[in-house]
């Protein structure tokens, strides 16, 4: 699996596995490698171009570690002019480009290609402007997500989207992936919190979209850029809105005898008109793993645990804590605790926030999935996962952004046991296909990348995908930016642009006229 290539599928036992096929490397680019590196060194001098195997190793993979590939070279520009010149050079010379922030993508968005330069944005690590009166921060894309909050927290402000990798992931990567987090039901995803970007097109042209003001006043290009997974351009500056930190936050920890009951509680809270700051669910295996790891007093006799956090002005939070507690009690919860101190609230969260490493302690490896479902389909999806668990012989722990229906099943496997990784991947694929079947989607916040690329046809037909790819053609007609990601098939833009309606061939439709 480390060098994905070759046959589209191979069979192992009674399960069919699909190997990842990446675009065929361009032979001419590989042949010109030394000259290309020399040319790039003229643009980004000194240590800005890395070409030795040992130094490129750290870049061979991102957070989806099953896939590894060394790039043609790693290029680390330090200003917009260099990015512009590098991209213009690559455009003129047909060299592919894979942009990378901190490399925390869980979907292989920053997986290198053999014939592509890896454009690392880590040197763009400055905060350029903090404007409390207008409530914005402008930062270079390599600033970490948490770095933005840290820069404004002294005045009681924060940046709302908080992906679990926030200590490491960059704001540029957040823009590429439209990252979420536990607070996005109430405060939105990255796209709802980004106001502007400076971006370099593959031609080297630099554009600005948005700024310290709201909406675009025309076509919403910014809305397209956010979540485009590095396929449309390279962001070199980001302006985000910052919010005042809520005055108070309190959480309720509720245990239920079944996931269905917990799901009903979530639906009832929302039906009561309450949008919690965070609403997380864990299943029994996740609860046990988390409690064994952080020992914060999670109840171990329940099947599902909910953490419901209310934030805002103190009077409102106290009022809503009462209402949520009433709802939970009315639905037969087994345990119910409302936090009475900041320490207690943090303890409620400690287990949830440590859920991934906690699962990592009870299994040599785990594979984190990311589908979203209509919440009412939760019982069906959970029972489907129990069947799949038996079919593949692998355990699965579930953590769930319950408020917005975003599932994170963690499939436990051991990469050292032959066939287990392939089984884990097939299990994961089945979970995502079930998510789509019940009306959900392949990815809620981790992105398509290479991981879910080949599943796109389960959600979108050819016409749907062709319309998405025509956008790509408007930005990058030669398909040089991050090829092999998001789309299962690469179509030539000339082919996508062709019209199949001929002059005078379509009769006037027989429809009402006024």
């Amino acid at each position: 699996m480390s060098q994905p290539e070759g046959s589209a599928a191979h069979a192992a036992g009674d399960v069919e596995y699909h190997a990842l096929v990446m675009p065929e490397p361009k032979r001419d680019v590989l042949a010109r490698r030394a000259a290309i590196i020399a040319d790039l060194r003229a643009i980004v001098p000194g240590e800005g171009v890395i070409d030795t195997e040992i130094e490129m190793r750290p870049y061979e993979s991102d957070g989806l570690t099953a896939y590894k590939q060394l790039p043609l070279a790693v290029v680390l520009p330090s200003n917009t002019t260099q990015v512009s010149k590098v991209l213009a050079y690559c455009h003129a010379n047909g060299v592919r480009v894979v942009p990378r922030g901190a490399g925390t993508s869980l979907s292989g968005g920053a997986l290198p290609l053999e014939d592509a330069i890896l454009l690392g944005m880590g040197k763009f690590n400055a905060i350029l402007d903090i404007d409390f009166d207008n409530r914005t921060v402008t930062a270079q894309p390599g600033v970490t997500n948490l770095g933005i909050t840290n820069a404004v927290v002294h005045n009681g402000f924060y940046y709302a989207p908080d992906p679990s990798s926030q200590i490491a992931c960059t704001i540029g990567g957040n823009v590429a992936e439209n990252s979420g987090g536990v607070h996005c039901l109430k405060y939105g995803l990255t796209t709802n919190n980004v106001m502007g970007v400076e971006m370099v097109l593959i031609t080297g042209e630099v554009i600005r979209l948005g700024g310290q003001y709201l909406d675009s006043g025309g076509l919403d290009l910014l809305g397209l850029i956010v979540g485009s997974e590095g396929l449309l351009g390279v962001v070199t500056e980001v302006t985000v809105r910052i919010l005042k930190k809520p005055e108070t936050a309190r959480a309720v920890l509720v245990g239920f005898p079944s996931s269905e009951a917990a799901g009903e509680c979530v639906a009832s809270i929302i039906a009561a008109g309450i949008i919690p700051g965070g609403m997380e669910m864990m299943d029994k295996l996740a609860i046990e793993a988390a409690e064994a790891f952080v020992k914060v007093g999670y109840p171990l006799d329940v099947e599902a645990l909910l953490i419901v956090e209310l934030d805002g002005p103190e009077a409102e939070v106290n009022h809503l804590i009462g209402r949520v507690s009433e709802i939970a009690s009315g639905l037969g919860c087994m345990t119910l605790r409302a936090s009475t101190s900041e320490e207690e609230r943090m303890a409620f969260w400690a287990g949830r926030k440590a859920a991934f490493p906690a699962v990592g302690r009870i299994s040599p490896d785990y594979y984190c999935m990311d589908g979203t479902i209509p919440r009412k389909a939760l019982p069906r999806v959970l029972s489907g996962m129990i069947d799949m668990s038996a079919k593949y012989g692998l355990a699965c722990a579930n953590v769930f952004h319950a408020g917005d229906g975003n599932l994170h099943p963690l499939i436990l496997y051991d990469a050292n046991k032959p066939g287990e990784l392939e089984r884990a991947e097939a299990f994961g694929r089945d979970i995502l296909l079930l998510c789509v079947e019940v009306g959900g989607v392949l990815t809620g916040e981790h992105g398509v990348g290479v991981e879910k690329r080949d599943l796109m046809p389960s959600m979108f037909d050819e016409t749907d995908l062709a319309h998405q790819q025509r956008l790509k053609c408007a930005f990058d007609a030669d398909g040089l930016l991050n090829p092999g990601k998001m789309f299962p098939q690469l179509h030539r833009c000339a082919e996508l642009g062709r019209m199949h309606i001929s002059r005078g061939q379509v009769p006037f439709p027989d429809i009402p006229r006024f």
């Binding site: 404007d131 009166d133 207008n134 914005t136 009681g156 979420g180 039901l185 939105g188 995803l189 097109l201 630099v206 554009i207 600005r208 979209l209 310290q212 003001y213 709201l214 909406d215 675009s216 025309g218 076509l219 919403d220 290009l221 809305g223 397209l224 956010v226 929302i270 008109g273 309450i274 002005p313 009077a315 409102e316 209509p374 952004h401 009306g439 959900g440 989607v441 809620g444 916040e445 981790h446 398509v448 995908l465 319309h467 025509r470 956008l471 790509k472 053609c473 408007a474 930005f475 642009g497 019209m499 309606i501 001929s502 002059r503 005078g504 006037f508 439709p509 429809i511 009402p512 006229r513």
Partner: protein, 413 residues
């Protein structure tokens, strides 16, 4: 059948009709103006097309699940109908879509869901709750290639593929004709109140609003109405000075707590007042729908989005030219009415560029002007050449034959 004439409204009954009509237009080299009820036909550049593609018969809410916070409806469904349905479940479109009726001299309640998304409507809650774009989850549409496609999904959190539902918001029918839309809906606040500050000049009001929305107290609307403009809003008509209005929404104990804290925070700014729920609702609707400038439809009206603290400089330039304005979004949105039909575009765009410095200061859209003016002027904020070329390439991809509302936003698009 005889070919249609300019006056024809081709009323599609379903998506298949839309596909057929667009295919016919492509085949015959005709142009179509994409419209729902037609309530916003006076927005954008003035264009003439061979016929109107009327989507107003594509109606009906196809999915509404309050507990999932999701609603889908055909593009021609009236916004008013959707709002009534949501109210029955104590929910709302949190972006508080404005009704252009009063400003454009048409009845209220004509707008459709498709038009709402095609023009990316918003209201006073925009800074905290977003615009229509922020609530777009999924869509079905027919592109200028005569092909029906879908994008997005029907769940509230989804990053699968390019974000076309957001990318097509605000596209004024120039890339695709929407046939069905899915949006996120949210619980509506139990009640509301408005805290008023009397007598602030525009720059001081900006500071007061910044302090209020930057506080812990969840201010969900912050507007400043200069003296004079106040006379056109019944709730403020007797104020005798400018009025700065701060809206608090939620459960009663929370509102009381927040109002008291805000009163303490803002006491130094000026004399404070208060509006109860009913008059508050009327005030915020009047501001949302720009009622102060609904009186004389011959006067040019601009909508300017900028950084809140830069707004008062723009307001001052407008006042000097004899225009009037008021501020929403804590200053980030300026509604400008000129003293006559002359939009004075150079003045508005010039001062906007000046306050922006090296970056763009924001965007100015000419909302109300006669057809000749809207045919001659850039109605939307002009694009730089690189972005303009990019937008043309997007049009090439979605509508290569320039069939769908060509020129409504930008010449050649």
């Amino acid at each position: 059948m005889t070919p249609p004439t300019t006056a024809d409204r081709l009323r599609a009954r379903d998506e298949a009709d839309v596909v057929e009509t667009v295919r016919w237009a492509v085949s015959e080299g005709r142009t179509l103006d994409v419209a729902g009820s037609g309530s916003k036909q006076a927005l954008g550049r003035h264009i003439q097309t061979d016929a109107t593609l009327d989507l107003s018969a594509l109606t009906g809410v196809s999915l509404y699940e309050p507990a999932e916070l999701v609603l889908s409806a055909k593009a021609g469904t009236r916004v008013a109908e959707i709002e009534a349905l949501l109210v029955a479940s104590n929910q709302m479109m949190a972006f508080e879509p404005m009704d252009y009726g009063p400003l454009l001299g048409r009845p209220r309640g004509e707008g459709t869901l498709g038009g709402l998304m095609a023009t990316n409507l918003a209201g006073p809650r925009r800074p905290s709750a977003g615009a229509a774009r922020d609530h777009a989850l999924g869509l079905r549409a027919v592109s200028g290639r005569g092909e029906a496609f879908k994008a997005g999904g029907r769940v509230v959190k989804n990053v699968t593929g390019y974000d076309l539902p957001r990318g097509l918001s605000g596209s004024y029918g120039t890339l695709a004709a929407f046939t069905e839309l899915t949006i996120k809906v949210l619980p509506r606040p139990e009640t509301l109140e408005t805290l008023l500050i009397y007598g602030l000049d525009d720059a001081t009001a900006a500071k007061a609003m910044s302090a209020a929305v930057g506080s812990y107290y969840d201010v969900s609307g912050a507007a400043h109405v200069p003296f004079g403009v106040t006379g056109h809003i019944p709730a403020l008509a007797l104020a005798g000075s400018s009025v700065t209005a701060l809206r608090l929404e939620g459960v009663p104990p929370s509102i009381r707590h927040r109002r008291e804290k805000l009163e303490a925070l803002l006491a130094g700014f000026g004399t404070l007042g208060r509006l109860e729920a009913e008059s508050s609702a009327k005030l915020w609707q009047a501001l949302r729908d720009v009622e102060p400038f609904a009186g004389d439809h011959a006067r040019a009206v601009w909508r300017v989005s900028t950084a809140p603290m830069k707004a008062s400089a723009i307001g001052a330039a407008v006042a000097e030219a004899g225009g009037a304005c008021f501020y929403d979004w804590a200053g980030g949105l300026i509604w400008i009415e000129m003293p006559d039909a002359d939009p004075r575009a150079e003045l508005v765009r010039g001062v906007l560029a000046a306050v922006g410095g090296p970056q763009s200061g924001g965007h100015a859209t000419l909302i109300r002007a006669d057809a000749a003016t809207r045919a001659a002027l850039e109605v939307f904020q002009p694009l730089d050449p690189v972005t303009g070329a990019l937008v043309k390439r997007m049009k090439d991809g979605f509508d290569p034959s320039r069939v769908l509302s060509p020129g409504r936003m930008y010449a050649g698009v």
